[in-house]
Amino acid sequence: MSNQLGRPIAEVIEANIETFKAQCYELYKPPPLGSLVKAGNMPVYGIVTDIITEGLDPSRPIVARGFSATTEEEIYTQNPQLMELLCTKFRAIAVGYSHDNLLIQGYPYEPPKIHAFVHECLPNELSDLSSSSDFIHLLLQHPEVKDEILTATLISISRQITDREKFLVRAGKTLAIELTGQMSRLNAILRKLKQ
C-alpha cells in the first residue's frame, strides 16, 4: 500500500468505533457520498455515508439572505463572511483499518483521534478494499446505511477501479446471499447496480 499522502481534506471532530465525523477544510468540498476516506496516521478507513453543511456557531441561527440577489452565487459574493460562518462536515462508517500496511476489513480496535487528518484514498487502497466483500456486510449491518447509500458506494468504487465488472458481480453475489428471503429489496439494489 502506498503511503504517499496528498493534502488532507478534513479533520476528525467526532469518533467512535463505528463512525467518525470530520469537518472539511473547504466549504462545499466534501468527499463524494460513498467514497472511501482514511483518518489518522494509523489510518482508519471509512465510507462516506452522510454530508452535512451547517452554521459553525449553533447559537447563531442561519437566516435567509437572498431577497436582493438574483443568483445564489451573488449571496455568497455579497456576504463574504458566510464562508467563515458555515462549514461542511461528513460522516463516515468505519470499514477497515491499516495493519502492517495492509487494509484489514472490519471495525478498527480504536477510533481515529480527534483532529486526525482525513485524506481521500488512493486507487490502490480502493482496489484493496474491493478485493473482498466483507465491508458490504458491515455496511448492511449498520442501521444508518440506507440501501441507496450502499448502492452509491458500490457504484463509486466500481468507477474507480480497473475491474469494474468483476467487482460488481462479487458484490452482487454477496448481497444476494446476505439478503436471502428479501427478493424485492435485492432486486431494487441490483437494478441500481446495473446502470
Binding site: 465488472e165 458481480v169 452482487g172 453475489k173 444476494a176 441490483l190 446495473k194
Partner: protein, 553 residues
C-alpha cells in the same frame, strides 16, 4: 505437472455439499461451469482428504436459495445481473454415485478399490481424466478390448472379455439401437483376447460374411471377413448363401432322428401345441426310440394313426394335431431323413479346433420355428457333449473343453418365464458355466425374459429401451438401479449403451466404438497393442506425474 490438454481436467467443477454412502453425493457446481456442459452419465473424480473417488453423474438439478425467486425475477436480460444471480441465488448441482477409489498416486497402477467411505464436505470435484478412466477400466492391451468411448471424452473404455464370458452376459436395446453391432464387437473381443470359442446363432445373417449397415446403407464386414482363419460359417440355407454370394464352410443337415421330444416342447408356443400334444413326443420316444419323429410323420391315414396312438397309449386326436404341426417341420430343407454326414460332429470338431462358428439361418431366419428348433437342438447336443467332456476331464483333473460362448438373438423366445425352466438355454444360464458354457443373449424385450434367468446375466449392456418394463428388467438386481435408470432412459437412440455388471468395475455409459470402414477394421484386426504400439500420451502423462512427485534425475 499436468500438461496443457490435461488442464481442463484439473479445473474444480464443484464441491461436495451433501450426501450419504447409500444415496450418493450432491455436488454444488462452480458458477463458472455451465450445467449444460455436464452430461448425465459422465464420470467425475472427487478429491477427498485421503481418497480419490470416481463417481458417475446420475442426476442434475437446478436449485435456488430463495423460494421467492420465481415470483420476483431479477432482470435476467442484463448480463451483470445474470452473472450475479448465478451461483448465489441460483446454483446447479449434480448427484453422483461414488463407485471406486483410485490409487492415491496418479499413475500408480495398483488396483482401484470399492468405495466404502465417502469424501469429506466441500471436497473438490474434477472431471475424470484419461488417466483416471484407465486406472479403472484398464488400457487397450492384450487383456483388454476397446469397446467404446465415454460420453464426452476420447478415452478408450475397455473390457476384459475373459471376465465378460465368465458368466452369461446380455446385450439389450430396442430395435435398431446397435445391439448387433455391439455383439459383433464383443465377439471380436472374445476371439482376440480369450481362449474361448463361440457359436453364434445368426438369425439375420449379420455376423459371418457381412452385415447390413442401415444408417449408411450397404454392408459391413462380418467376422469371417476380418478373421478368416478363426471363423467358420455354417449355413442352414445353402441357396440363400449362394444368392448373397456369402462364403460358407459347412451346410447344416439335421437328421429326423436328431429331433428330441424336448425340441418339440420348446416349440409349444410357436407351433401352438396343447400341453397334451407337447408331451406326446416323450411317450413316443420311450416306445419307438430315436425314430419316433420319422415314424410319426410317416404314419399316414386316420386308421394307421389311431393304431399308433393306441399302441403308445396317447390321445389319438392330440397326436393327429401334433403330427399336422410337425409336418411343417419336414418342409425345412435342412431337415433330412438320412443325412450323409453328422453336422453336429463337424460343429464340435470346429469348436475343438478353436474356431468360432457362425450359424447362418439364411431365409429360415424369418421363420421363428426354424430358429427355435435349430438353436435348441444344437445347443442341447452341444451341452450334452460339453457335460461329458467336462466330467471326463474332471475325472482326470483336466481343465475341460474350451470355454464356449453361445450367442443368441431374440433371447426371450428361449428364456420367457413359462419356458425358461425347460429350455436348454434356461438351464445353461442357471448352471452358470458349470460345463464351460455361457450365453451372450441379445434381446429387444428384456421384460420377456424370466427374472431368475435375468439375475444370472452377470454383465449387461443396454442400448436405449423405451418400455419402462424393459428398463426395469434390465436394471433388476443392480445395486444402483434407480440412478442407472435416469441414465439409461436418456441414451441416444444409436450407438450408445450403458455397460454394467460383473465384467466392468463401475457402470459406464459408452459411445460404442465405430464399426464399418476400413480404418475401423484395421484397428480391430491389428490393434496397437499387437503391432507393438507406440507410447500413448497417457503413458507419458503418468510418468510426468510421478516425476513431479518424486523429482526426476
Amino acid at each position: 505437472m499436468p500438461n496443457q490438454s490435461d488442464q481442463t481436467q484439473h479445473e474444480t467443477i464443484g464441491r461436495v455439499v451433501d450426501g450419504s454412502l447409500t444415496r450418493g453425493m450432491e455436488i454444488k457446481l462452480e458458477s463458472s461451469i455451465s450445467i449444460e456442459d455436464i452430461n448425465n452419465g459422465t464420470y467425475v473424480v472427487i478429491q477427498g482428504k485421503h481418497n480419490r473417488f470416481v463417481a458417475m453423474v446420475t442426476d442434475l438439478t437446478l436449485g435456488t436459495s430463495d423460494q421467492n425467486l420465481k415470483f420476483n425475477l431479477p432482470d435476467m436480460s442484463d448480463p451483470l445481473i445474470r452473472e450475479i444471480v448465478k451461483g448465489s441465488l441460483t446454483y446447479n448441482s449434480l448427484s453422483v454415485r461414488p463407485g471406486k477409489v483410485l490409487p492415491a498416486v496418479r499413475g500408480d497402477h495398483s488396483d482401484t478399490t470399492e468405495a466404502r467411505t465417502i469424501p469429506e464436505f466441500f471436497s473438490p470435484v474434477f472431471r475424470a481424466s484419461q488417466n483416471d478412466m484407465e486406472s479403472i477400466f484398464g488400457k487397450e492391451d492384450e487383456n483388454n478390448f476397446f469397446i467404446g468411448h465415454p460420453l464426452d471424452m476420447d478415452t478408450k473404455i475397455c473390457v476384459d472379455p475373459r471376465q465378460l464370458i465368465k458368466r452369461s452376459c446380455g446385450v439389450f436395446g430396442r430395435s435398431g439401437t446397435g445391439k448387433t453391432f455391439l455383439a459383433r464387437l464383443l465377439m471380436i473381443g472374445v476371439l482376440q483376447h480369450t481362449e474361448a470359442v463361440s457359436l453364434i446363432f445368426d438369425m439375420h445373417n449379420e455376423y459371418g460374411e457381412s452385415g447390413q449397415d442401415n444408417d449408411r446403407g450397404g454392408a459391413v464386414s462380418g467376422l469371417k471377413t476380418l478373421f478368416p482363419g478363426q471363423v467358420s460359417i455354417f449355413t442352414l440355407d445353402e441357396n440363400s448363401s449362394k444368392l448373397r454370394k456369402a462364403r460358407y464352410d459347412e451346410v447344416v443337415r439335421i437328421g429326423y432322428s436328431d429331433i428330441e421330444p424336448e425340441d418339440i416342447e420348446s416349440l409349444t408356443q410357436t407351433l401352438n401345441l396343447s400341453d397334451v400334444a407337447a408331451s406326446i413326443p416323450f411317450t413316443l420316444k420311450t416306445t419307438l426310440g430315436d425314430n419316433w419323429f420319422k415314424q410319426l410323420v410317416e404314419t399316414d391315414g386316420q386308421e394307421a394313426l389311431n393304431k399308433l396312438a393306441s399302441e403308445v397309449q396317447v390321445q389319438p386326436q392330440a397326436m393327429r394335431a401334433l403330427r399336422n404341426r410337425l409336418l411343417r417341420l419336414t418342409r425345412f430343407d435342412f431337415l433330412d431323413e438320412n443325412p450323409q454326414y453328422n453336422s453336429l460332429n463337424r460343429l464340435l470338431d470346429k469348436l475343438k479346433d478353436g474356431m468360432h462358428v457362425v450359424l447362418e439361418f439364411g431365409r429360415h431366419g424369418n421363420d421363428l420355428t426354424a430358429y427355435i428348433l435349430v438353436a435348441n437342438l444344437l445347443t442341447r447336443r452341444l451341452h450334452n457333449k460339453y457335460r461329458e467332456l467336462t466330467e471326463e476331464s474332471d475325472a482326470e483333473r483336466g481343465t475341460g473343453p474350451k470355454p464356449l460362448v453361445i450367442c443368441i438373438e431374440e433371447a426371450h423366445r428361449f428364456l420367457a418365464p413359462g419356458i425358461a425352466s425347460q429350455t436348454i438355454f434356461g438351464q445353461i444360464a442357471r448352471e452358470d458355466r458349470k460345463f464351460n458354457i455361457t450365453l451372450m443373449v441379445i434381446d429387444q424385450r428384456p421384460s420377456g425374459i424370466d427374472s431368475e434367468i435375468m439375475s444370472q446375466i452377470a454383465t449387461r449392456i443396454s442400448c436405449l429401451l423405451n418400455d419402462e418394463r424393459d428398463v426395469d428388467a434390465v436394471l433388476s438386481g443392480s445395486p444402483n438401479s434407480r440412478e442407472l435408470k435416469s441414465v439409461l432412459s436418456r441414451l441416444n437412440a444409436k450407438q450408445e449403451a450403458l455397460f454394467f455388471g460383473d465384467a466392468i468395475p463401475m457402470p459406464i455409459l459408452i459411445r460404442t466404438r465405430p464399426y464399418g470402414d476400413n480404418e475401423h477394421y484395421q484397428d480391430l484386426t491389428s490393434p496397437s497393442w499387437k503391432t507393438g504400439g507406440q507410447n500413448t500420451d497417457s503413458d507419458k502423462d503418468s510418468r510426468r506425474d510421478l516425476d513431479a512427485l518424486f523429482g526426476n534425475s
